[in-house]
Symmetry: C2
Subunit: 309 residues, 2 copies
């Protein structure tokens, strides 16, 4: 089942894709039913059963609705950095485990909505990523139980501004305790970068079009991921090239952070070099405009334009 959040006929709605993908069939929402996809996820199997029992509602043509991010207010979007085997040779120092940062839901937009760029944002490029949507929350989840906690999958364009990243990187004299005496300090010259602007600005988290429930994805580690600028193929990769796979990632992340139903874990950028492909870093959305698409096999094609302020 492909589940969407959308706006049509004057209000926000939730729906499922028709078999041919041409329309969204509205699910009952409000009253005794979940008002949002997030509430549907929170409601678990009982909420699903009730939605199905209520039967299909009105069909909306997919090109006539305003898409939203399929989950609109998750507690967090946990994003993995540098989680692709194509990176390995470029990393001189780095952890062997997943490294993560957080995007807030205020950064989310859906399929067809525009990425906001401002002149001083500098370079802004796409990062095509498979995203996991958590169904059942938990902490300290064992890898062998990880898929029990997965609701489904969607596509994520993790918009990134390397210009703002560079600006928000400090080289500074960090204070550390001096060995042996808890009351003394020493200075250690350190680099530290803060992703608040360059990863978490409004519209920097494009999600969708749908959440595809996990039963429809036979192997999430065998999906083609492509990124297009307008209709030009920029990157072509496969989720098999992710360094850390979903069970290990859910186990690792949940050993630090409690996962909440609806949370999104974005698995890191697909960027394996391909004969036809280029580098996502060359697609400066702030400079070139146009549309950027993230297409994931079995999940769909997420397309977003650019608007400037």
């Amino acid at each position: 089942m492909k589940l969407a959040s959308f706006y049509a006929d004057g209000r926000e709605r939730i729906g499922v894709a028709s078999a041919d993908g041409s329309s969204l069939i509205e699910l009952p929402s409000g009253g005794d039913h979940p008002r949002t996809v997030l509430e549907l996820i929170e409601g678990g199997e009982a909420a699903w059963a009730a939605a199905k029992a209520a039967g299909g509602g009105k069909a909306y043509a997919v090109d006539e609705v305003q898409w939203r991010a399929p989950v609109r207010t998750p507690s967090k979007i946990v994003c993995l950095a540098l989680n692709n085997s194509a990176n390995a040779s470029r990393i001189m120092k780095g952890p062997k485990h997943p490294a993560t940062f957080i995007k807030p839901w205020s950064a989310l937009i859906g399929h067809g909505e525009a990425v906001l760029c401002k002149p001083h944002y500098g370079r802004c490029h796409p990062e095509p990523e498979l995203a996991v949507v958590i169904g059942k929350g938990g902490k300290d989840i064992a890898a062998e139980n990880a898929y029990d906690h997965v609701f489904g999958y969607t596509a994520h364009n993790d918009i990134t501004s390397p210009t703002m990243r560079d600006e928000d990187t400090f080289f500074y004299r960090a204070i550390h305790p001096k060995g042996g005496d808890a009351g003394e300090i020493e200075y250690v010259d350190s680099w530290v970068s803060y992703p608040g602007r360059y990863k978490a600005s409004d519209t920097f988290s494009c999600l969708g079009p749908y959440i595809v429930t996990k039963d429809e994805i036979a192997d999430p580690h065998d999906l083609r991921v492509a990124c297009y600028h307008n209709d030009r193929l920029v990157t072509e990769d496969n989720t098999r090239n992710l360094t850390h796979h979903i069970p290990a990632v859910i186990a690792f992340v949940s050993s630090y952070m409690t996962l909440i139903p609806g949370d999104v874990i974005s698995m890191g950028t697909a960027l394996q070099a391909s004969a036809k492909g280029g580098a996502v870093q060359n697609v400066d959305m702030n400079k070139f405009g146009g549309t950027v698409s993230v297409e994931i096999e079995g999940i769909g094609k997420l397309t977003n334009g650019v608007r400037w302020e």
Copy 2:
């Protein structure tokens, strides 16, 4: 008014501090009233008026309740890095504007709850900070209107693990577009650090005890901030030493990220050297245990212990 979230008599409640601070007077919650402090904030003046009209409820002694973070599910906790004039001389490279990172609400705990440490977390130290709670959301908020968007203030202990920060710092060959040709790339050796673990792990955001509404704080930039380990004064500072002040910070942050009612902006660590004080970096909670307190003049004293797993 001092507003709290707490658990007592078998359920979550919201309340206001009594005049002498010895008890929490329950506010009506549920039914026609907001269920949470966050909903009370979202409800604006009408929700306040209704809560006041309903009159005071049962009084709970402050030492008999289980405190929670005063707002429990904000969309984001925006934290400022290195925002103290004591840092200036230690920064060799860094932006002139606020640098930020995001903590999710899963990291929140309240007064009296314990910070979770695990052996492999390494060093974990407190960071005492004044936190602003947003009342009215918005984006592109002008500095001169910033206080219109403030609901109140609270104390934040921005728990930090420099061990995990070091582990999650990469030195790598970043891909950049090569000047002049959009299709070619070059490599630029870069440092980048990811705060998912070292800043956003469960319990790494201690908040409270109360939100003090803004009418009770004459000048948020003239408040003593102290940090204690057990009863030993570690740091003593004043919010006047913040590099970027609240109006400028709200204007800057909201020019990138839409602020949502209940959002928390943590203003950065108080750490001005004092004759009596030490360095928060020396207080390794994972090693020494005990309690850590953040005390802010006019706001209260937030105390948290440590538990190990």
